[in-house]
């Protein structure tokens, strides 16, 4: 950074449409001091800066850079430390963004009753097979596929479906993706991720009902 950068573009060239904003921004970002960039709002992704900055502003900045000579490496140490701090702050938001779910916290809870093999977790689109019993909060059993003495044993099969594709209520899709083969869990699903305000009258599920399932994940495709 010892050599002072040269001014390659004349005023006419700067004003010309042939010279894209991005090029000017890049030059200034490469060569100007951090505080200069900050003052002129030229920090950050070139594309974004190009969207918000007008050509006239860039020409002004370019000229001012050479007038003030506030090139990179002309700043005292404290400013460099600030630069490092600033960089750190910028990185964090990116991580947080990928984890935040738009709709808030998950609307189900799961407690493991019997551990699974902790290796075979189903992925979206794979077929899972389950034995399950579904009850309402008051204990009424509204559905099960587990054979009892009353039912003919030969008819009983575990429920099979492709997980994570919205074919089942959301509570099931989400919970099963966290279960491993052989696991039995108690899953409590709030009505928004179950049958909501409509309920399922023919299956004895009233509106706004919280559903409790005991699910055993038997097989993963």
């Amino acid at each position: 950074m010892a050599a002072v950068p040269t001014r390659d573009w004349s005023d006419e060239q700067l004003k010309s449409d042939d010279l894209p904003k991005k090029d000017i921004i890049k030059f200034i970002q490469d060569n100007a001091a951090h505080s200069f960039l900050n003052e002129h709002k030229l920090l950050g992704n070139i594309k974004n800066v190009a969207k918000t900055a007008k050509k006239e502003q860039l020409i002004i900045a370019y000229n001012q850079l050479f007038e003030s000579k506030r090139f990179k490496g002309t700043e005292p140490v404290e400013e460099v430390t600030e630069q490092v701090k600033a960089v750190k702050i910028e990185e964090k938001p990116k991580e947080v963004k990928t984890e935040v779910v738009d709709e808030g916290p998950p609307k189900y809870t799961k407690s493991v009753l019997k551990k699974g093999d902790k290796t075979n977790f189903p992925k979206k689109g794979e077929t899972v097979s389950c034995w399950y019993t579904g009850t309402l909060e008051d204990g009424t059993v509204f559905d099960t596929n587990i054979p009892t003495a009353a039912r003919k044993k030969k008819q009983a099969k575990p429920l099979s479906f492709k997980v994570g594709l919205g074919r089942v209520i959301r509570g099931w899709d989400e919970a099963l993706l966290t279960m491993s083969k052989g696991e039995t869990a108690r899953v409590e699903i709030e009505s928004e991720w179950a049958y909501g305000k409509k309920g399922l009258p023919e299956s004895k599920i009233p509106p706004n009902a919280k559903l409790i399932f005991e699910v055993e994940l038997v097989a993963v495709d």
Binding site: D143, Q155, L159, R167, V168, I169, K198, L200, E202
Partner: protein
């Protein structure tokens, strides 16, 4: 005579082994035996048949006597009935199953409904008995039998009302009930954990028969719910068919959700399409979702939107069938929609072709179906489907409908929906970019236009024109010029050019034309000279009488009145916009 011949041939054959009987022996026995029964000599025939010494003969040739025997039993000829019944039962015990089967199946073929029902009633038990004697190789015989029985039952008239089902005049209900009893042992024989290839074939036969019944009669009768008819043989029949499917290992959920599931590899010898006939699956979906049959075996974990998508496929198919099936189609679609929360279906669902096809078919029913009640039903479910879309989907759907419906009434109905959506969007807290913001204007431009400019036939397009005017009037009243939330005020000058002025011109032209027509008609009426009209209309072979002058005048007055109505709204809008613009 015949009796003597019969006795002779029997005596000739008595001591000999059956492989020594000649063709002549067979023929004589057959002809003589049949004649005896037809002539009423059943007592003697019975004693011959029961004679210890004749059992080999009976085993070999007895089945040939079935035709006249069954005729007697069907006619319920009291004199000979007991003896013939005794002969019949003995033959069933003694003769070879394969031959008995042929004989019995032949007699199943009848033509008139009464005899069909009676022969099914008479022959199902014997057929069952015979088939069970065939042991493990019965699958194809079972298939043949079920096929014949179902074909015969298909010829019986269907009960439609509750009373008809109770009275069961043509015995369809009785046949269905007997059919269930017939297949029961064959279903129980199937041990799902030990399927060999013969049992597998038997499963396939049973499955195909269930599929057939789902198509007929179950798709064509309207099942009565328990409140209407507490004991319904048809409802029981349907329930038993579903239970049978489960018992032979077919998952009801896979069948119902078939359209969206990846096809599994099939064992067995039947093609995919034949094995899963689409109409039968649609019928099954209807039984499960609308009548809640087998509800306790149907899992309550499926997502209502997934159910809707599958049922759309079924609905789409059902539309291809005759309009008589429409009530079932409508019920299935409606039931699936009702389970979905209002405003929750996203726009990308509309990209699935089925959604649009179903809507187009509904429009056809709403506009051209001759039955008024079906048109009303169609409209009801059409509006219900609109209510389930989210805002963006509604927007896209309205655009699509305006572009493709080609019917003024439908367009008018859609425009009214658009007005409602704008009204909702303008309420505090409901703001959206589709019916208020940036997207509204392009939609409005499509709505506030005349299809043929000033030459638009205002009577033909009345519904659309009136709703467009109503919408415009609503907008200029509701949206203050100072707020201009919908953008209507900045757009107004364009609308005046493309809509209001051409409409004004069109109104003037139409009114002038009709007033002249009215004047001419009244003049010619005064003259009393019957003018030969240039057009005549014939329906069938009959020419319709010309409209009387009186009717013509009434029609013309009615047209003029319509123009007045249109004009009154247009004038009101002009007043409102003049006032606002001059503020």
């Amino acid at each position: 005579m015949a009796l003597e011949q019969l006795s002779d041939v029997v005596q000739r054959c008595q001591a000999r082994p059956d492989d020594s009987y000649t063709t002549e022996d067979h023929d004589v026995f057959t002809i003589a035996g049949r004649t005896c029964i037809e002539e009423g000599n059943s007592v003697q025939v019975l004693s011959i048949i029961l004679d210890e010494k004749n059992q080999e003969i009976v085993r070999s040739m007895g089945w040939n006597l079935l035709p006249p025997l069954i005729q007697v039993l069907l006619k319920k000829d009291n004199k000979n009935l007991p003896q013939c019944l005794a002969i019949f039962n003995h033959l069933l015990e003694t003769c070879r199953p394969k031959e008995l089967l042929i004989g019995l199946l032949e007699q199943l073929e009848q033509d008139d409904p009464d005899t069909i029902a009676e022969s099914v009633h008479l022959l199902l038990n014997p057929l069952q008995k015979v088939l069970l004697c065939l042991g493990s190789r019965k699958a194809s015989s079972l298939g043949m039998t079920l096929s014949s029985v179902l074909d015969q039952v298909a010829k019986l008239p269907l009960p439609h009302t509750k009373d008809q089902e109770e009275d069961d005049v043509f015995s369809l209900c009785r046949c269905c009930t007997e059919l269930i009893a017939f297949i029961r042992p064959f279903v129980q024989e199937v041990r799902l954990d030990l399927l060999n290839s013969e049992e597998l074939n038997q499963c396939v036969i049973l499955f195909c028969s269930c599929m057939k019944t789902l198509s007929h009669p179950l798709l064509e009768v309207q099942l009565k719910d328990p409140d209407t008819l507490a004991v319904s043989p048809l409802r029981n029949f349907a329930t038993e068919i579903l239970n049978t499917l489960s018992a032979i290992g077919e998952s009801l959920t896979s069948l119902v959700y078939q359209p969206l599931l990846k096809r599994k590899q099939l064992p067995g010898f039947l093609e995919e399409e034949v094995r899963y006939p689409k109409e039968s699956l649609a019928s099954l979906a209807h039984l499960v979702f609308v009548h809640h049959l087998a509800a306790d075996t149907f899992p309550s974990v499926y997502n209502p939107v997934f159910c809707l998508r599958c049922n759309m496929e079924h609905t789409c198919l059902l539309f291809l069938m005759s309009v008589c099936v429409f009530p079932i189609t409508q019920e299935l679609y409606e039931k699936s929609l009702v389970r979905v929360v209002d405003g929750s279906l996203p726009a990308d669902l509309l990209e699935i072709k089925t959604f649009l096809t179903v809507s187009q078919n509904l429009v056809k029913v709403m506009t051209i179906c001759p039955r008024h009640d079906l048109r009303i039903k169609g409209l009801k479910v059409f509006q219900l489907s609109i209510d389930k879309f989210d805002t963006e989907a509604k927007y896209n759907f309205f655009q699509y409908m305006l572009k493709t419906s080609g019917h003024s009434g439908v367009e008018g109905y859609i425009i009214k929906n658009i007005k409602n959506q704008i009204d909702l969007a303008l309420q505090p807290g409901n703001s959206n970019t589709w019916f208020e913001g940036v997207h509204l204007l392009p939609l409005l431009r499509k709505v506030l236009s005349l299809p043929d400019g000033p030459e638009t036939d205002l009577l033909q397009y009345l519904d659309r024109v009136m709703e467009s005017l109503n919408l415009l009037r609503y907008l200029v009243i509701r949206d203050k010029v100072t707020e201009n939330q919908t953008g209507i005020w900045t757009e107004l000058y364009k609308i005046e050019d493309t809509f209001m002025k051409p409409l004004r011109v069109g109104l003037n032209m139409s009114r002038a034309h009709y007033e002249r027509e009215l004047h001419n008609t009244m003049e010619s009426k005064k003259d009393k000279a019957k003018e030969e009209s240039m057009l005549s209309v014939s329906v069938g072979d009959e020419k319709l009488p010309n409209m009387t002058s009186q009717s013509q005048i009434q029609a013309l007055h009615s047209a003029l009145h319509t123009f007045d109505m249109i004009e009154s709204v247009l004038v009101r809008i002009e007043e409102l916009t003049d006032v606002r613009e001059n503020l």
